[in-house]
């Protein structure tokens, strides 16, 4: 079953700013879907349109196979979501804030204790929200999103600003939600986190989807070779002429070649034919970060990952 489907979704601010430019993507039931893009690429605007807090300029949204204003409003009751920073009443306690959430979602307030315990805030439930740390605020937001036992969980930059411990906690919560069989839609620019938690991704750049698919498919698209020779400048020049090379970067004394195929022997033969003899040749696994940088950078950026 398709949980989220957008068709040519567009958001324009004024005449000149096109925040989201006709994007179409779909999320299937049970996927942990990462929505990736640089800052300002249109991630939050897209999520805002899914949640009805931003009015689309054009395009269609289907949620749980429902469309139309009233049908979507009912369908959105099956979603738990947080957007950007956690938004609660600062003068109310964590518990009172969740009481408001429970009343809006029309669910029994007896679920509040379980929600607070699930995110480890049971002992701080009576403290005012304004006194919480950022990590605690994020966890309260997740508790609020989970209160209606949603089928779809949408989290916008849930690990933003957190320390490694906080990020680990959020990762565990997401993995826990996914293991319950829920569909998770998470936007982030923290690629390691996405690679560790998501099954599928869509990459958005300047308001347009530039790739969508499983992470396995995405990273398997390209091969990366690390090569060295006595004269790195000559090697770089030769590698740039190789027809199957997508991008070539110099990294310290090595040259990184991103290839359309995984035929390293052909690469070796090609540079040798240009009079450059390799002293080192090794394949390297392509990470989500490598692909992300390739798809979203206007200028090639050398990868700094370990060889």
């Amino acid at each position: 079953m398709t949980i989220i489907e957008t068709t040519q979704l567009t958001k324009r601010y004024g005449r000149s700013t096109l925040a989201v430019d006709g994007i179409s993507f779909h999320v299937e039931r049970g996927q942990v879907f990462g929505f990736l893009g640089p800052n300002g690429s249109g991630k939050t605007t897209t999520i805002g349109m899914l949640l009805d807090i931003i009015n689309p300029s054009s395009g269609d949204i289907r949620l749980f196979d429902e469309y139309g204003r009233d049908e979507l409003h009912i369908a959105r009751r099956r979603i738990g979501a947080t957007l950007e920073t956690p938004n609660f009443y600062p003068y109310l306690s964590g518990r009172d804030n969740l009481r408001i959430v429970a009343r809006i979602k029309e669910i029994p307030e007896t679920r509040i204790d379980a929600a607070l315990d699930a995110v480890g805030l049971g002992s701080r439930q009576k403290d005012q929200f304004r006194k919480y740390s950022l990590g605690m605020k994020q966890r309260l937001a997740i508790a609020g999103a989970m209160m209606g036992d949603p089928e779809l969980v949408i989290l916008d930059e849930p690990a933003n600003g957190l320390d490694p411990e906080g990020m680990r906690e959020i990762r565990e919560i997401i993995q826990g939600l996914a293991s319950d069989g829920r569909t998770i839609f998470v936007s982030s620019h923290l690629l390691n986190e996405v690679e560790r938690t998501c099954t599928h991704v869509a990459i958005i750049k300047q308001g347009r989807i530039v790739h969508q698919g499983s992470i396995a498919e995405l990273t398997a698209r390209h091969a990366l070779a690390v090569i060295r020779a006595a004269d790195p400048a000559a090697l770089l020049d030769a590698a740039r002429q190789y027809p199957a090379a997508i991008q070539v970067h110099l990294e310290d004394d090595s040259v990184l070649v991103e290839l359309r195929d995984d035929d390293l022997a052909a690469l070796n033969a090609f540079v040798a034919s240009r009079g450059v003899h390799l002293s080192y040749l090794a394949p390297r696994n392509v990470s989500l970060e490598d692909v992300f940088m390739e798809l979203t950078s206007d200028t090639p950026t050398p990868s700094r990952a370990a060889v």
Binding site: G48, I53, L83, I100, I104, K105
Partner: protein, 279 residues
Amino acid sequence: MSVGKLVSIELLKTRKRFAVWMAMLFFFGFFVVNLTGSLIEHIRHDVAGTPLPQSWPGIISFGSGLGVLVLLVTVVLLTASEKTWRTERQNVIDGLSRTQFFTAKMIVMVSLVALLWLGVIVLTAAFGALERLGEAAELPLARGIDLKLMGGLLLNLTLVGAIALFFGTSGSSSGAGLALAFLFLFSQSLIAVLMVRLGGIWEIAAPFLPMQVLQALTSTMTFDPEAFAQMAERMRQMEESGRPSMPRPLSAIEAVTAALVYIALFLGGAWFAIRRRDL
């Protein structure tokens, strides 16, 4: 979602809001201290403290002035802060429709109006009755004109609430909403005089400015045909001798109709602001 559910949500938000309690304390504290002082004076020195029904016009005018201030502050704060804290968007994300959010805020506004209005009427009647204890009352607690003024006060406070709701939903923050609302209301006395001096259509429109309508709703002249006729005659004589520098008084039907139209317009504007803008 039922209205009862919306009320319970807004009660939860409001009951721990310090600013709301302070505003209510200011309003009722001022009133009770004022009335208590008059009562003590009456008991000790046997002078008229709050003699009813003669005191109603003054008290209603006082209640309106204080009510404008308190209502503007509380309704703008309760509405605009939802934008500052982005809880309005979170409420919608959690499942409240924009229409339900607007309805909830309208319920808050109407409740505050009812509370202030009832406060003015009940407290004044209670203190007035206390003053009459043991004395033979020749007049009832309230005359017909006083009842009309009470109705005028209710409309007056509802219009202020509607204006506050509009600026609370339209302003980018509580500060901006409050600044715009105060500027809107209190700049109108100057604008009204300017419009009268411009003459023609401007002069005709001047009495219908919201602030003029608000004042007319709590003025004895509006609801007393004799006083209204005398004022109209004075204005006519002033016009004959030159230009009047004040807008003409509104009749009761004009004031009530204009108030109802403004209430509908400001509430419609507030609903439109919530419905159309990105949260």
